[in-house]
């Protein structure tokens, strides 16, 4: 029976890696449907993503590949699957709404396990798509306590990624540490410009002629995680910061969905604080 796998390799660079890896594929009689490699000369690391098809046992393929790879290589053999996400939101509908439409349309190969929010605003929108909406208010709770409640809810769910679709709260280190490379955020500026709160106001006050959005993995440092996707649009003096905010919504939602597709299709490597997107 014909199968397919995404093979992701991330290891120390060495002469002959492409040869050794493609030899394994060839000897197992696999088709290479897609193949991308990259050597980061700074870190001396080799990255490769192959989509292979044929008749094979994933476990065996893994073993044979590990044998030809350098020590400490990271190897993933992923059978294309429907991933599961949990979405965090606050009050803004556009980024969530965009994901919901794509999900409903089958454009995003994903199951949305739940939408979690610190506000009740978006309950109705989520209900329209028959997805559980979990409202976890912050009133009377410290940041730590609130996150504990969130984690309790997450513990009941199965998911691959947490998507912050305009979740307007900063996550604690302890929370972030639980989900390394598993939290995707959309920040409403072309980072590293305008880190932190209200970037459109900052942008307006600086008088910039372009605004943008950045999707990135969340790390311990605010808005400093590895960037997955970015885009910008032009603005001018006629835009006050509310206009910038409105115009920015379209970039935010498109950039977040672009990032989501990259992640869901296993097309990304994290390389230090950078990413490689194939």
């Amino acid at each position: 029976m014909e199968q397919k796998a995404r093979v992701l390799i991330d290891c120390e660079d060495q002469k002959g890696l492409v040869y050794k890896i493609s030899k394994v594929f060839f000897e197992k009689n696999l088709n290479i449907e897609n193949n991308r490699e990259f050597v980061d000369s700074d870190s001396g690391k080799f990255f490769m993503r192959s989509v292979v098809s044929g008749q094979f046992c994933s476990k065996k393929l893994r073993e044979e590949l590990i044998e030809v790879l350098p020590q400490h290589a990271n190897l993933q053999v992923i059978e294309p699957n429907r991933k599961k996400i949990v979405i965090f939101v606050t009050k803004e509908a556009h980024a969530l709404g965009d994901i919901l439409i794509r999900y409903d349309d089958g454009e995003l190969d994903v199951d949305i396990e739940a939408v979690i929010s610190n506000h009740d605003t978006l309950r109705e929108l989520v209900r329209r798509f028959d997805i559980p909406f979990i409202h976890i208010p912050t009133e009377g709770l410290s940041r730590e306590e609130h996150e504990e409640v969130v984690v309790e809810q997450l513990d009941k769910l199965e998911f691959d990624y947490i998507v912050l679709a305009k979740y307007m709260r900063i996550l604690n280190s302890s929370f972030v540490a639980k989900f390394p490379k598993k939290i995707i955020n959309i920040h409403h500026s072309f980072l590293p410009a305008f880190v932190g709160a209200n970037p459109y106001k900052q942008a307006y006050e600086r008088g910039v002629k372009i605004i943008g959005a950045t999707a990135h993995f969340v790390t311990d440092e605010l808005d400093e995680g590895p960037i997955i996707a970015q885009d910008t649009i032009n603005v001018n003096h006629r835009f006050d910061w509310k206009d910038m905010q409105n115009a920015g919504k379209d970039v935010e939602k498109v950039v977040l969905s672009r990032a989501l597709k990259i992640v869901l299709n296993d097309r990304i490597f994290v390389n230090g604080n950078k990413t490689i997107v194939f």
Copy 2:
């Protein structure tokens, strides 16, 4: 005899300004060839740029306009003229070269009085276009002393604007204070990201997916002056910082020339730390 003038007004907003101004134009039998207004509701300021044609005396037009404008209004009545610039460079040819070609082609309505450089690298290129090249080495001179020599040279020249076409030295406050709103710089990043030295290296290290360039007026604070024009291009993990630098050259030169045209055509107002570009 048919004349033309650019009328630039910048004053406190008031009801009836458009009416009062256009009344002056109408009663003097002027054609309005182009008209743009903007009210900045934050500062309560009114900005207007009109291109008028007809038979008129600029001085009289000025007087009649002043009469209908609020106190402290800034009014310029400019007869379109060929402006004069001095270009400062260091070693990179692309931004200077782009200006030289546009100048040679008559695309930029400008006279280049001289090119001043702290290095001798670009002498030959400037010579090709029969423009004076003034090499002012920095060896053995403090920043202040070097700028004194530069000012000595500038004193011999007549010019409207100084264009920093990749001049890789920071100018002292005292120098900048001499030429308010008269120095145009191209910074090789989408400001406010990557202020200061080697923005491409900073961009590379941050792992951004877009890079850009910003043309701005130089003020006392490094890379903080009012932005005239900005643009960005996409990069990816295959770009090391040298590749970013090379790819960035095209944005830098195009953005600088775009800014230069805006300034030379009197299409810009400085509004605090922002600009209005008509």
Copy 3:
């Protein structure tokens, strides 16, 4: 009581028009919140859009303006209102879904009276937003007969614009003639490239490096109506036509919504086969 109106003027150009119009505003003690003018030197036509506020009677304002305008001037004095639209779709969800989310979020100042489709595919999505879905199958009907049924349905509705959100049928002249400047279409190419059916396939076969989308008013000639908004994105040899189609969805929906906002805010003039967008 403070009121607001959008004043749209479209007439033969004449000396003094800005003066005469702003005089009316001034004498009625109106604030000009926003003002844009344009003279098309080709056609010798003058276009002006002002947003005015104050205490006034729209009818009287109209009369006084007409008095100062040239003969045959088109004048609209529009009190900002919530417009009504009917959306036509076929099977694709992305453009419709984008409008629904914006509508649900209050971003689009509009009432959606109904969604009409030649297929039943999107019934469920429309139902989620509690909007009437009218399925008008084409089976057994000629184009004329089908449109007659559509018109019957439209006759029961009140609406300002028809939005073709990927309606994959060509409309007859007789239908189009009923709704001049009232039908907005999104075409999935940067017109005038790739008119007609399957532009992504055409684009793929031509080997282009950019694809795009165009929102335009529908006229009698296929894909030849006045363009409201356009945008493009980059593609490369890795995109087959299905990939182009998928990538194109984001441009289509963003361009259509941008056009819709322009139209709903009365920010557009049709000038022959061109548009002026203020």
Copy 4:
């Protein structure tokens, strides 16, 4: 002694090609500095570009590769070299000027053998850079006769590519046939929109909101050759066709130089009427 080569392979797709090719590299102890592959599933063709370094004999490397490739494979083993070009121009300076500046700056790894023009307009600009300028007037000559004179001149020169930097004449089939995949043109529209003469006028008349430029290989059919690079910029109703033409210059020159770099670095395959750019 360390050498470098660009290996370009273009053949029927087969299982094991990457393995067989990388085996040759591995056994010759070569480093793969850069590697890109693509399979065009439409045509069933495999494309690969590798940059290899090490100690090797190009002829032998060629032979060993040919042995493992399918019949009729196209194989190029290119030692990076400085290519030679001849530039054709008419009267416009911007595209030529941009190439001259990049050439003078060492940014383009190229020798410009001559500039050939049907007008004398750009003689002075070319002279500034000490490059032969050959004026071949068309007066009194049929298209065929003019091209004969051009070919006579070309016969005296050695060159790899002809670059049409706004050469405003259509080339005959017989001329084009002499230089297959060797003539690069910049067309001033986003092809396939606005084929032929005066695309800016066509764009203006159609009322488009974007304009663009296309660099392509010249084939027998006007503006129909394989596209190398394209880009677009936004315009609006304020642009008459002269403004579009001026704004378009920046896109034209940047797109042409981008295409030129792709070609000079052997980063392109022609695949039917499409291109693959690595």
